[in-house]
Amino acid sequence: MSEFFSIDFAISILPRLLYAAGVTVQLTLTSFAIAMVVGLPLALGRLSSFKIVSSAAGAFIEFVRGTPMLVQLFLVFFGLPKLGLSLQPVTAGVLTLSVHYGCYIAEVYRGNLQAINPTQREAAWSLSLSPFDTFKSVLIPQTIPPMIPILGTYLIGMFKDAALLASISVFELLTTAKLIGTESFRYTEPMTIAGLLFLFMSLAAAGLTRLLERQWTNR
Protein backbone atom coordinates (compact mmCIF):
# COMPACT_ATOMS: atom_id res chain seq x y z
CA MET A 1 0.00 0.00 0.00
CA SER A 2 2.99 2.33 0.07
CA GLU A 3 3.19 2.73 -3.68
CA PHE A 4 2.85 6.31 -5.00
CA PHE A 5 -0.18 5.68 -7.22
CA SER A 6 -2.34 2.57 -6.90
CA ILE A 7 -4.26 1.80 -10.08
CA ASP A 8 -6.60 -0.53 -8.18
CA PHE A 9 -7.47 2.13 -5.65
CA ALA A 10 -7.92 4.70 -8.40
CA ILE A 11 -10.36 2.44 -10.22
CA SER A 12 -12.29 1.74 -7.01
CA ILE A 13 -12.90 5.45 -6.30
CA LEU A 14 -13.57 6.40 -9.92
CA PRO A 15 -17.38 5.94 -9.79
CA ARG A 16 -17.70 8.27 -6.79
CA LEU A 17 -15.54 10.89 -8.44
CA LEU A 18 -17.36 10.61 -11.75
CA TYR A 19 -20.64 11.09 -9.96
CA ALA A 20 -19.23 14.17 -8.20
CA ALA A 21 -17.92 15.45 -11.53
CA GLY A 22 -21.47 15.13 -12.83
CA VAL A 23 -22.66 17.31 -9.96
CA THR A 24 -19.99 19.91 -10.81
CA VAL A 25 -21.06 19.91 -14.46
CA GLN A 26 -24.70 20.38 -13.49
CA LEU A 27 -23.91 23.14 -10.99
CA THR A 28 -21.71 24.94 -13.47
CA LEU A 29 -24.02 24.73 -16.45
CA THR A 30 -27.02 25.80 -14.39
CA SER A 31 -25.11 28.74 -12.93
CA PHE A 32 -23.79 29.67 -16.35
CA ALA A 33 -27.25 29.74 -17.89
CA ILE A 34 -28.51 31.91 -15.02
CA ALA A 35 -25.46 34.17 -15.30
CA MET A 36 -26.21 34.77 -18.99
CA VAL A 37 -29.70 35.88 -18.05
CA VAL A 38 -28.68 37.89 -14.96
CA GLY A 39 -26.02 39.73 -16.96
CA LEU A 40 -28.54 41.26 -19.32
CA PRO A 41 -30.59 43.41 -16.89
CA LEU A 42 -27.36 44.39 -15.13
CA ALA A 43 -25.89 45.57 -18.43
CA LEU A 44 -29.09 47.41 -19.33
CA GLY A 45 -29.20 48.93 -15.87
CA ARG A 46 -25.70 50.22 -16.30
CA LEU A 47 -26.60 51.66 -19.72
CA SER A 48 -29.79 53.23 -18.39
CA SER A 49 -30.26 56.94 -18.82
CA PHE A 50 -31.65 57.10 -15.29
CA LYS A 51 -28.67 58.10 -13.22
CA ILE A 52 -29.81 56.24 -10.10
CA VAL A 53 -30.28 53.00 -11.99
CA SER A 54 -26.98 53.18 -13.81
CA SER A 55 -25.06 54.11 -10.64
CA ALA A 56 -26.67 51.33 -8.63
CA ALA A 57 -25.99 48.73 -11.34
CA GLY A 58 -22.45 50.06 -11.74
CA ALA A 59 -21.74 49.93 -8.01
CA PHE A 60 -23.10 46.41 -7.70
CA ILE A 61 -21.08 45.14 -10.66
CA GLU A 62 -17.88 46.75 -9.39
CA PHE A 63 -18.43 45.35 -5.89
CA VAL A 64 -18.93 41.84 -7.17
CA ARG A 65 -16.01 41.98 -9.59
CA GLY A 66 -13.76 43.60 -7.01
CA THR A 67 -14.20 41.11 -4.17
CA PRO A 68 -13.19 37.43 -4.00
CA MET A 69 -15.93 34.97 -4.79
CA LEU A 70 -15.22 33.13 -1.56
CA VAL A 71 -16.19 36.24 0.40
CA GLN A 72 -19.42 36.49 -1.56
CA LEU A 73 -20.09 32.81 -1.02
CA PHE A 74 -19.77 33.21 2.75
CA LEU A 75 -21.91 36.34 2.72
CA VAL A 76 -24.65 34.47 0.91
CA PHE A 77 -24.40 31.25 2.88
CA PHE A 78 -23.72 32.60 6.38
CA GLY A 79 -24.88 36.21 6.05
CA LEU A 80 -28.29 35.88 4.40
CA PRO A 81 -29.66 33.59 7.16
CA LYS A 82 -29.10 36.50 9.56
CA LEU A 83 -31.53 38.45 7.38
CA GLY A 84 -33.96 35.57 7.61
CA LEU A 85 -33.09 33.90 4.32
CA SER A 86 -31.50 30.49 4.78
CA LEU A 87 -30.39 28.71 1.65
CA GLN A 88 -29.37 25.13 0.95
CA PRO A 89 -25.64 24.88 0.19
CA VAL A 90 -26.37 24.01 -3.45
CA THR A 91 -28.75 26.96 -3.85
CA ALA A 92 -26.33 29.34 -2.19
CA GLY A 93 -23.55 28.02 -4.41
CA VAL A 94 -25.51 28.39 -7.64
CA LEU A 95 -26.70 31.85 -6.61
CA THR A 96 -23.18 33.06 -5.86
CA LEU A 97 -21.62 31.55 -8.98
CA SER A 98 -24.31 32.91 -11.27
CA VAL A 99 -24.38 36.42 -9.83
CA HIS A 100 -20.57 36.59 -9.71
CA TYR A 101 -20.21 35.58 -13.33
CA GLY A 102 -23.37 37.49 -14.27
CA CYS A 103 -21.50 40.68 -13.39
CA TYR A 104 -18.59 39.79 -15.64
CA ILE A 105 -20.96 38.83 -18.43
CA ALA A 106 -22.89 42.09 -17.92
CA GLU A 107 -19.77 44.04 -18.76
CA VAL A 108 -19.29 42.03 -21.93
CA TYR A 109 -22.91 42.61 -22.95
CA ARG A 110 -22.49 46.29 -22.27
CA GLY A 111 -19.28 46.59 -24.27
CA ASN A 112 -20.75 44.75 -27.23
CA LEU A 113 -24.02 46.66 -27.13
CA GLN A 114 -22.12 49.93 -27.16
CA ALA A 115 -19.95 48.68 -30.00
CA ILE A 116 -22.95 48.23 -32.29
CA ASN A 117 -23.13 51.05 -34.78
CA PRO A 118 -25.94 53.47 -33.77
CA THR A 119 -27.10 53.36 -37.39
CA GLN A 120 -28.53 49.91 -36.62
CA ARG A 121 -30.92 51.52 -34.15
CA GLU A 122 -31.74 54.20 -36.69
CA ALA A 123 -32.58 51.59 -39.31
CA ALA A 124 -34.81 49.81 -36.79
CA TRP A 125 -36.44 53.09 -35.81
CA SER A 126 -37.20 53.99 -39.40
CA LEU A 127 -38.91 50.60 -39.81
CA SER A 128 -41.07 51.44 -36.74
CA LEU A 129 -39.73 48.45 -34.81
CA SER A 130 -40.61 48.75 -31.13
CA PRO A 131 -37.76 49.25 -28.65
CA PHE A 132 -38.30 45.69 -27.46
CA ASP A 133 -38.16 44.18 -30.95
CA THR A 134 -35.17 46.34 -31.80
CA PHE A 135 -33.44 44.96 -28.78
CA LYS A 136 -34.46 41.36 -29.25
CA SER A 137 -34.22 40.98 -33.02
CA VAL A 138 -31.58 43.53 -34.00
CA LEU A 139 -29.20 44.28 -31.14
CA ILE A 140 -28.95 41.14 -29.01
CA PRO A 141 -28.30 38.76 -31.93
CA GLN A 142 -25.38 41.00 -32.87
CA THR A 143 -23.89 41.04 -29.38
CA ILE A 144 -23.87 37.29 -28.77
CA PRO A 145 -21.53 35.92 -31.50
CA PRO A 146 -18.56 38.17 -30.66
CA MET A 147 -19.08 37.17 -27.01
CA ILE A 148 -18.61 33.46 -27.62
CA PRO A 149 -14.82 33.28 -27.03
CA ILE A 150 -15.07 35.32 -23.82
CA LEU A 151 -18.04 33.31 -22.63
CA GLY A 152 -15.99 30.16 -23.23
CA THR A 153 -13.24 31.52 -21.00
CA TYR A 154 -15.77 32.31 -18.29
CA LEU A 155 -17.29 28.84 -18.56
CA ILE A 156 -13.89 27.25 -17.98
CA GLY A 157 -13.25 29.61 -15.06
CA MET A 158 -16.61 28.67 -13.64
CA PHE A 159 -15.81 24.93 -13.68
CA LYS A 160 -12.76 25.67 -11.59
CA ASP A 161 -14.50 28.14 -9.30
CA ALA A 162 -17.20 25.56 -8.66
CA ALA A 163 -14.54 23.89 -6.46
CA LEU A 164 -14.93 26.83 -4.05
CA LEU A 165 -18.33 25.44 -3.17
CA ALA A 166 -16.42 22.77 -1.26
CA SER A 167 -16.06 25.38 1.47
CA ILE A 168 -19.79 25.34 2.13
CA SER A 169 -19.83 21.54 1.80
CA VAL A 170 -21.52 21.16 -1.54
CA PHE A 171 -20.65 17.67 -2.71
CA GLU A 172 -19.02 18.60 -5.94
CA LEU A 173 -15.85 17.09 -7.36
CA LEU A 174 -13.22 18.66 -5.12
CA THR A 175 -15.19 18.07 -1.91
CA THR A 176 -15.54 14.42 -2.81
CA ALA A 177 -11.86 14.05 -3.66
CA LYS A 178 -10.90 15.62 -0.33
CA LEU A 179 -13.35 13.41 1.52
CA ILE A 180 -11.90 10.28 -0.08
CA GLY A 181 -8.47 11.56 0.99
CA THR A 182 -9.44 11.97 4.62
CA GLU A 183 -11.21 8.60 4.70
CA SER A 184 -8.37 6.60 3.16
CA PHE A 185 -5.33 8.76 3.93
CA ARG A 186 -4.57 8.60 0.22
CA TYR A 187 -4.67 11.93 -1.58
CA THR A 188 -2.63 11.26 -4.71
CA GLU A 189 -5.21 9.16 -6.52
CA PRO A 190 -8.38 11.20 -5.85
CA MET A 191 -6.63 14.51 -6.47
CA THR A 192 -4.98 13.28 -9.66
CA ILE A 193 -8.26 11.96 -10.97
CA ALA A 194 -10.11 15.11 -9.90
CA GLY A 195 -7.48 17.21 -11.67
CA LEU A 196 -7.80 15.14 -14.82
CA LEU A 197 -11.58 15.42 -14.70
CA PHE A 198 -11.35 19.21 -14.31
CA LEU A 199 -8.95 19.30 -17.25
CA PHE A 200 -11.33 17.17 -19.27
CA MET A 201 -14.23 19.51 -18.51
CA SER A 202 -12.18 22.56 -19.45
CA LEU A 203 -11.13 20.98 -22.73
CA ALA A 204 -14.73 20.07 -23.48
CA ALA A 205 -15.82 23.65 -22.77
CA ALA A 206 -13.03 25.00 -24.99
CA GLY A 207 -13.99 22.58 -27.76
CA LEU A 208 -17.62 23.59 -27.52
CA THR A 209 -16.65 27.26 -27.70
CA ARG A 210 -14.63 26.71 -30.84
CA LEU A 211 -17.45 24.75 -32.41
CA LEU A 212 -19.97 27.51 -31.71
CA GLU A 213 -17.56 30.13 -32.98
CA ARG A 214 -17.13 28.28 -36.26
CA GLN A 215 -20.89 27.77 -36.51
CA TRP A 216 -21.44 31.52 -36.31
CA THR A 217 -18.67 32.62 -38.63
CA ASN A 218 -19.72 30.09 -41.28
CA ARG A 219 -23.26 31.27 -41.32
Binding site: N117, T119, Q120, E122, A123, W125, S126, L127, S128, L129, S130, P131, D133, S137, V138, P141, Q142, P145, R219
Partner: protein, 279 residues
Protein backbone atom coordinates in the same frame (compact mmCIF):
# COMPACT_ATOMS: atom_id res chain seq x y z
CA UNK B 1 -26.33 50.38 -68.55
CA UNK B 2 -26.72 46.76 -69.63
CA UNK B 3 -30.40 45.94 -69.98
CA UNK B 4 -30.07 42.62 -68.10
CA UNK B 5 -28.83 44.51 -65.06
CA UNK B 6 -31.94 46.61 -64.86
CA UNK B 7 -34.01 45.42 -61.91
CA UNK B 8 -37.60 44.81 -62.77
CA UNK B 9 -39.92 46.90 -60.74
CA UNK B 10 -43.64 46.54 -60.98
CA UNK B 11 -45.30 48.46 -58.23
CA UNK B 12 -49.05 48.74 -58.72
CA UNK B 13 -50.00 52.21 -59.79
CA UNK B 14 -52.90 54.03 -58.28
CA UNK B 15 -52.07 57.38 -59.79
CA UNK B 16 -55.30 57.41 -61.78
CA UNK B 17 -57.37 56.85 -58.67
CA UNK B 18 -56.31 60.18 -57.30
CA UNK B 19 -58.96 62.73 -56.75
CA UNK B 20 -59.55 65.64 -54.47
CA UNK B 21 -58.29 63.88 -51.33
CA UNK B 22 -54.79 64.28 -52.68
CA UNK B 23 -55.04 68.01 -52.04
CA UNK B 24 -53.83 67.34 -48.51
CA UNK B 25 -50.04 67.51 -48.77
CA UNK B 26 -48.15 64.26 -48.17
CA UNK B 27 -45.98 66.16 -45.76
CA UNK B 28 -45.47 69.72 -44.64
CA UNK B 29 -42.63 71.48 -42.88
CA UNK B 30 -44.00 74.55 -41.12
CA UNK B 31 -41.43 77.00 -39.74
CA UNK B 32 -39.22 74.10 -38.69
CA UNK B 33 -36.06 74.93 -36.77
CA UNK B 34 -33.39 72.61 -35.46
CA UNK B 35 -30.34 73.24 -33.32
CA UNK B 36 -27.51 71.01 -32.18
CA UNK B 37 -26.52 72.79 -29.01
CA UNK B 38 -25.82 76.33 -30.13
CA UNK B 39 -25.41 75.35 -33.78
CA UNK B 40 -28.46 76.27 -35.83
CA UNK B 41 -28.75 73.55 -38.44
CA UNK B 42 -32.24 74.21 -39.82
CA UNK B 43 -33.84 77.65 -39.90
CA UNK B 44 -37.47 78.38 -40.63
CA UNK B 45 -37.94 75.50 -43.05
CA UNK B 46 -41.20 75.70 -44.97
CA UNK B 47 -41.94 73.03 -47.51
CA UNK B 48 -45.08 71.35 -48.77
CA UNK B 49 -44.75 68.13 -50.66
CA UNK B 50 -47.73 66.88 -52.69
CA UNK B 51 -48.63 63.22 -52.82
CA UNK B 52 -46.54 61.30 -55.35
CA UNK B 53 -44.27 64.29 -55.75
CA UNK B 54 -40.52 63.80 -56.07
CA UNK B 55 -38.44 66.47 -54.36
CA UNK B 56 -34.65 66.52 -54.57
CA UNK B 57 -32.63 68.31 -51.91
CA UNK B 58 -29.32 69.71 -53.04
CA UNK B 59 -26.81 71.99 -51.39
CA UNK B 60 -23.28 72.15 -50.04
CA UNK B 61 -21.97 69.81 -47.36
CA UNK B 62 -23.24 70.78 -43.93
CA UNK B 63 -26.19 72.75 -45.28
CA UNK B 64 -28.64 70.53 -43.37
CA UNK B 65 -29.96 68.18 -46.08
CA UNK B 66 -29.59 65.00 -44.03
CA UNK B 67 -30.92 66.70 -40.92
CA UNK B 68 -34.01 67.78 -42.83
CA UNK B 69 -34.77 64.20 -43.87
CA UNK B 70 -33.94 62.90 -40.42
CA UNK B 71 -36.40 65.24 -38.73
CA UNK B 72 -39.14 63.86 -40.98
CA UNK B 73 -38.11 60.33 -39.99
CA UNK B 74 -38.18 61.54 -36.33
CA UNK B 75 -34.58 60.44 -35.98
CA UNK B 76 -33.92 64.02 -34.90
CA UNK B 77 -36.18 66.15 -32.74
CA UNK B 78 -37.00 69.70 -33.80
CA UNK B 79 -36.78 72.88 -31.73
CA UNK B 80 -39.36 74.96 -33.52
CA UNK B 81 -42.27 74.62 -35.91
CA UNK B 82 -44.21 71.57 -36.90
CA UNK B 83 -44.06 68.67 -39.31
CA UNK B 84 -47.31 67.26 -40.66
CA UNK B 85 -47.88 64.07 -42.54
CA UNK B 86 -51.15 63.71 -44.42
CA UNK B 87 -52.45 66.72 -42.53
CA UNK B 88 -51.75 65.13 -39.14
CA UNK B 89 -49.11 66.43 -36.80
CA UNK B 90 -46.08 64.14 -36.84
CA UNK B 91 -43.99 66.21 -34.51
CA UNK B 92 -43.99 69.67 -33.02
CA UNK B 93 -41.15 71.84 -31.81
CA UNK B 94 -43.04 72.67 -28.62
CA UNK B 95 -43.18 69.00 -27.61
CA UNK B 96 -40.52 67.60 -25.30
CA UNK B 97 -37.87 65.41 -26.93
CA UNK B 98 -39.49 62.40 -25.25
CA UNK B 99 -42.85 63.27 -26.78
CA UNK B 100 -41.26 63.78 -30.18
CA UNK B 101 -39.43 60.47 -29.99
CA UNK B 102 -42.33 58.63 -28.36
CA UNK B 103 -42.47 54.90 -28.89
CA UNK B 104 -46.17 54.74 -28.09
CA UNK B 105 -48.22 52.80 -30.64
CA UNK B 106 -49.96 55.94 -31.94
CA UNK B 107 -46.66 57.69 -32.58
CA UNK B 108 -45.24 54.60 -34.24
CA UNK B 109 -48.33 54.31 -36.42
CA UNK B 110 -47.79 57.87 -37.70
CA UNK B 111 -44.15 57.14 -38.36
CA UNK B 112 -45.06 54.02 -40.28
CA UNK B 113 -46.16 56.15 -43.22
CA UNK B 114 -42.53 57.08 -43.73
CA UNK B 115 -39.56 54.95 -44.79
CA UNK B 116 -35.91 55.90 -45.06
CA UNK B 117 -32.92 54.56 -46.96
CA UNK B 118 -29.44 55.52 -45.82
CA UNK B 119 -26.11 56.17 -47.47
CA UNK B 120 -24.50 53.21 -45.68
CA UNK B 121 -27.45 50.80 -46.29
CA UNK B 122 -27.60 49.86 -42.57
CA UNK B 123 -28.83 46.35 -43.27
CA UNK B 124 -29.02 44.04 -40.27
CA UNK B 125 -25.83 42.01 -40.75
CA UNK B 126 -27.04 38.87 -38.99
CA UNK B 127 -30.12 38.48 -41.19
CA UNK B 128 -30.35 37.28 -44.76
CA UNK B 129 -31.69 39.64 -47.40
CA UNK B 130 -35.15 38.08 -47.06
CA UNK B 131 -35.06 38.25 -43.26
CA UNK B 132 -34.04 41.91 -43.42
CA UNK B 133 -37.11 42.62 -45.51
CA UNK B 134 -39.50 40.40 -43.54
CA UNK B 135 -38.60 41.44 -40.00
CA UNK B 136 -40.61 44.68 -39.77
CA UNK B 137 -43.74 43.33 -41.49
CA UNK B 138 -43.66 40.45 -39.02
CA UNK B 139 -42.90 42.38 -35.86
CA UNK B 140 -44.63 45.67 -36.57
CA UNK B 141 -47.55 44.70 -38.78
CA UNK B 142 -47.93 41.31 -37.12
CA UNK B 143 -48.00 39.34 -40.35
CA UNK B 144 -47.69 35.57 -39.93
CA UNK B 145 -44.31 34.17 -40.92
CA UNK B 146 -45.32 32.86 -44.33
CA UNK B 147 -47.09 36.07 -45.32
CA UNK B 148 -44.12 38.14 -44.24
CA UNK B 149 -41.87 35.87 -46.30
CA UNK B 150 -44.11 36.24 -49.33
CA UNK B 151 -44.04 39.97 -48.92
CA UNK B 152 -40.25 39.89 -48.69
CA UNK B 153 -40.08 37.90 -51.93
CA UNK B 154 -42.40 40.37 -53.62
CA UNK B 155 -40.32 43.40 -52.73
CA UNK B 156 -37.00 41.67 -53.33
CA UNK B 157 -38.13 40.82 -56.84
CA UNK B 158 -39.24 44.40 -57.26
CA UNK B 159 -35.65 45.54 -56.75
CA UNK B 160 -34.24 42.63 -58.74
CA UNK B 161 -32.80 40.81 -55.75
CA UNK B 162 -34.83 37.57 -55.65
CA UNK B 163 -31.81 35.47 -56.54
CA UNK B 164 -29.94 36.63 -53.46
CA UNK B 165 -32.80 36.34 -50.98
CA UNK B 166 -30.94 33.91 -48.73
CA UNK B 167 -27.58 35.66 -48.72
CA UNK B 168 -26.23 37.59 -45.77
CA UNK B 169 -25.48 41.27 -46.49
CA UNK B 170 -21.76 40.56 -46.20
CA UNK B 171 -21.92 38.48 -49.38
CA UNK B 172 -23.63 41.21 -51.40
CA UNK B 173 -22.12 44.09 -53.35
CA UNK B 174 -22.87 47.62 -52.19
CA UNK B 175 -25.41 48.12 -54.94
CA UNK B 176 -27.15 44.87 -54.04
CA UNK B 177 -27.18 45.77 -50.35
CA UNK B 178 -28.71 49.11 -51.14
CA UNK B 179 -31.42 47.50 -53.26
CA UNK B 180 -32.22 45.15 -50.36
CA UNK B 181 -32.38 48.18 -48.06
CA UNK B 182 -34.86 49.81 -50.43
CA UNK B 183 -36.95 46.62 -50.49
CA UNK B 184 -36.84 46.51 -46.69
CA UNK B 185 -38.33 50.00 -46.48
CA UNK B 186 -40.88 49.36 -49.23
CA UNK B 187 -42.10 46.21 -47.49
CA UNK B 188 -43.64 48.41 -44.79
CA UNK B 189 -45.63 50.01 -47.64
CA UNK B 190 -44.97 53.61 -46.62
CA UNK B 191 -46.45 56.60 -48.37
CA UNK B 192 -43.30 58.68 -48.19
CA UNK B 193 -39.81 57.44 -48.89
CA UNK B 194 -36.66 59.32 -47.91
CA UNK B 195 -33.36 58.66 -49.63
CA UNK B 196 -30.22 60.19 -48.16
CA UNK B 197 -27.40 60.03 -50.70
CA UNK B 198 -28.19 56.40 -51.36
CA UNK B 199 -25.56 56.05 -54.07
CA UNK B 200 -22.72 58.00 -52.45
CA UNK B 201 -21.11 54.98 -50.81
CA UNK B 202 -21.19 52.92 -54.01
CA UNK B 203 -18.48 52.18 -56.55
CA UNK B 204 -19.27 54.16 -59.71
CA UNK B 205 -20.23 51.07 -61.70
CA UNK B 206 -22.90 50.16 -59.09
CA UNK B 207 -24.63 53.55 -58.98
CA UNK B 208 -26.70 52.83 -62.08
CA UNK B 209 -28.53 49.79 -60.72
CA UNK B 210 -29.72 51.71 -57.65
CA UNK B 211 -30.78 54.77 -59.63
CA UNK B 212 -32.67 52.44 -61.97
CA UNK B 213 -34.68 51.16 -58.99
CA UNK B 214 -35.46 54.73 -57.93
CA UNK B 215 -36.55 55.63 -61.47
CA UNK B 216 -38.87 52.62 -61.65
CA UNK B 217 -40.32 53.47 -58.25
CA UNK B 218 -40.92 57.00 -59.45
CA UNK B 219 -42.64 55.85 -62.62
CA UNK B 220 -44.65 52.93 -61.37
CA UNK B 221 -45.76 53.93 -57.90
CA UNK B 222 -47.46 56.85 -56.26
CA UNK B 223 -44.83 57.11 -53.56
CA UNK B 224 -43.92 60.54 -52.35
CA UNK B 225 -40.15 60.75 -52.49
CA UNK B 226 -37.67 63.12 -50.90
CA UNK B 227 -34.09 62.56 -51.83
CA UNK B 228 -30.76 64.10 -51.06
CA UNK B 229 -28.40 63.64 -53.95
CA UNK B 230 -25.20 64.94 -55.46
CA UNK B 231 -26.15 63.44 -58.84
CA UNK B 232 -27.37 66.64 -60.48
CA UNK B 233 -28.19 64.93 -63.75
CA UNK B 234 -30.40 62.45 -61.93
CA UNK B 235 -32.06 65.16 -59.85
CA UNK B 236 -32.85 67.13 -62.97
CA UNK B 237 -34.50 64.22 -64.77
CA UNK B 238 -36.09 62.51 -61.82
CA UNK B 239 -37.39 65.18 -59.49
CA UNK B 240 -40.48 67.31 -59.95
CA UNK B 241 -39.03 70.02 -57.76
CA UNK B 242 -35.60 70.75 -56.40
CA UNK B 243 -34.85 72.55 -53.15
CA UNK B 244 -31.48 74.19 -52.71
CA UNK B 245 -30.37 74.31 -49.09
CA UNK B 246 -27.85 76.77 -47.84
CA UNK B 247 -26.82 77.26 -44.22
CA UNK B 248 -29.87 75.48 -42.89
CA UNK B 249 -32.37 77.35 -45.02
CA UNK B 250 -34.26 76.50 -48.16
CA UNK B 251 -32.65 79.15 -50.25
CA UNK B 252 -34.50 78.39 -53.43
CA UNK B 253 -37.09 75.83 -54.42
CA UNK B 254 -38.38 75.42 -57.95
CA UNK B 255 -39.28 73.01 -60.72
CA UNK B 256 -36.29 70.80 -61.49
CA UNK B 257 -35.71 72.08 -65.01
CA UNK B 258 -36.02 75.70 -64.07
CA UNK B 259 -33.67 75.58 -61.09
CA UNK B 260 -30.95 74.00 -63.20
CA UNK B 261 -31.47 76.15 -66.28
CA UNK B 262 -32.49 79.41 -64.62
CA UNK B 263 -31.56 79.58 -60.96
CA UNK B 264 -32.85 82.88 -59.64
CA UNK B 265 -30.57 83.06 -56.61
CA UNK B 266 -26.92 83.90 -56.90
CA UNK B 267 -25.92 81.24 -54.32
CA UNK B 268 -27.73 78.53 -56.25
CA UNK B 269 -25.94 79.58 -59.38
CA UNK B 270 -22.57 79.50 -57.63
CA UNK B 271 -23.26 76.10 -56.14
CA UNK B 272 -24.39 74.58 -59.42
CA UNK B 273 -21.42 76.05 -61.27
CA UNK B 274 -19.02 74.61 -58.68
CA UNK B 275 -20.65 71.18 -58.81
CA UNK B 276 -20.73 71.05 -62.59
CA UNK B 277 -17.11 72.13 -62.85
CA UNK B 278 -15.95 69.42 -60.47
CA UNK B 279 -17.49 66.74 -62.69
Amino acid sequence: MDESMTPHVFLPTTKDAFVVASEVPACEFIHVGKQFGTLEVLRDINLEVRRAEKVALIGPSGSGKSTLLRTLMTLETINAGEIKVNGETLTNGSWTPDQQRSDKPAARARRRRIGMVFQQFNLFPHMTAAENVAVAPRKVLGLPRNEAEERAQKYLSMVGMSAKANELPLRLSGGQQQRVAIARSLAMEPEIMLFDEVTSALDPELVGEVLAVLRKLGEESDLTMLLVTHQMEFARNFADRVAFLWQGQIHEVAEAKSIFDNPTEERTRQFLRAVLESH
